[in-house]
Subunit: 227 residues, 2 copies
DNA sequence: CGCCCTCTTGACGCATCTCTGACGCCGGGC
DNA sequence: GCCCGGCGTCAGAGATGCGTCAAGAGGGCG
């Protein structure tokens, strides 16, 4: 669910945009002048701004500069003016895109999607997907396991197995599913692999490997990771 | 100095773009068909791509998808076709902007600047461009590595590899990802390259290259930079 | 034209990981 | 009380991956 701020002083344009955006599951705020736009942008932190340049109270380029002073939110400029100078000025002031009126709604929405998409963090450097137990910690993004203040070295197969279990934390994962996810679709029955590698994981991560508290065996069915 | 890849099969357009771009201190590569474009994009790592959709050998959208498979480099589409469908398709395939021919050079350049600008890393307060370890220092912005008070000379490939690792500090980076980011999308398996260059980096930056403390090998999975 | 820096490529030894079989334990069914 | 299937453990053999060295190819620059 993305939030959009629509800034335009023509009510019918705002109405058309709001209807179309809401139909596509955007959250929409609207402003009819520059001052309101700046206030709403600060208050609501939209993911993208659609900005008409012809506002009653201030120059559109000033709005762009005001925004760019503190945020990199994508700004999609909407304008009736087609001259090249206008476009260059708005783009160089910090706008991300420039669409001239009259515009096609499909195109505008596509440009909006493009703006939102590229604003999304790449591989999110900080999206640490960390799962903790009282004994150890698993960071799925960094591919790191931690225990007693030290890193635990895991082999690729061990990691893969751990990953499947952790992603299904609390749920039972069948032997067949584990085998097929880790070893490939043709390995449905080699449950001895599982026994060996579950033992490795327990030895490396459990406090008392022979009485596992987190890697639980469900006899005849599969295994379960319990945090 | 930014690098631009211009892709168009009309020589006069290419010529006009190359002249204008070079006059503005861009480094320019040019391709007349999709295959060349993909190859050059991989080899030269441009900062932005200007792509004509009407190529002789493949559909422009396919070129976009081919690029988006491994890079987020800004793509500015140039096309004679004005229909909304074309634009939507190209934008949703991953293009960043769409300009119809005939285009104004000023506007195109402004859109190019906008594309490059927003692709630049956000100057966030906490993401310092300098990364330090107790042994050496890496300045990502200045493209310099420092050790024992002296600059360390790195070849382009060494630097590229170091950059990818440092940007993902603490996280495991898979061999495939490293190869594709440094050598291009078609190098997913040549792990011998990695071994050679990791050895170089270690020899130049580690205190004891045979017992690396910062460039950690995770056997079978990839490498990790630890500060 | 020739030098030098880089990148690529192959070969080798070594460490590690994966697979495999054997064995013992435990609980449930007969 | 015995049998049997499923599970945990161990250790060895083979396969794979890694670090290292060295030589050749390619390109830029004087």
């Amino acid at each position: 669910m993305n939030r959009v701020l629509v800034v335009d002083d023509e009510p019918q344009i705002v109405r058309a945009l709001v209807i179309n955006l809401k139909a596509r599951k955007y959250e929409v705020d609207a402003a009819a002048d520059g001052a309101t736009a700046l206030r709403l942008a600060a208050a609501r932190h939209p993911d993208v701004i659609v900005l008409d340049l012809g506002l009653p109270d201030m120059d559109g380029v000033e709005v762009i500069k005001g925004l760019r002073g503190w945020t990199r939110v994508p700004i999609l400029v909407l304008s009736a003016r087609q001259t090249s100078d206008e476009k260059v000025e708005a783009l160089d002031a910090g706008a991300d895109d420039y669409v001239t009126k009259p515009f096609g709604m499909d195109e505008l929405l596509a440009r909006l999607r493009a703006a939102v998409r590229r604003a999304e963090p790449a591989g999110q450097p900080d999206d640490s997907v960390v799962v903790e137990t009282e004994t150890f910690t698993v960071d799925l993004a960094a591919k790191k396991a931690h225990r007693d203040g030290r890193d635990v070295r895991l082999t690729p197969t061990e990691w893969h197995l751990l990953e499947v279990l952790v992603r299904n934390a609390g749920r039972l994962v069948s032997q067949k599913q584990l085998l097929q996810e880790v070893w490939g679709p043709s390995y449905g029955t080699e449950s001895n692999y599982l026994r060996v590698y579950m033992a490795q994981l327990r030895r490396k991560l459990e406090t008392d490997p022979s009485h596992p508290r987190h890697f639980i065996t469900e006899p005849g069915m599969g295994y379960r990771f319990e945090r």
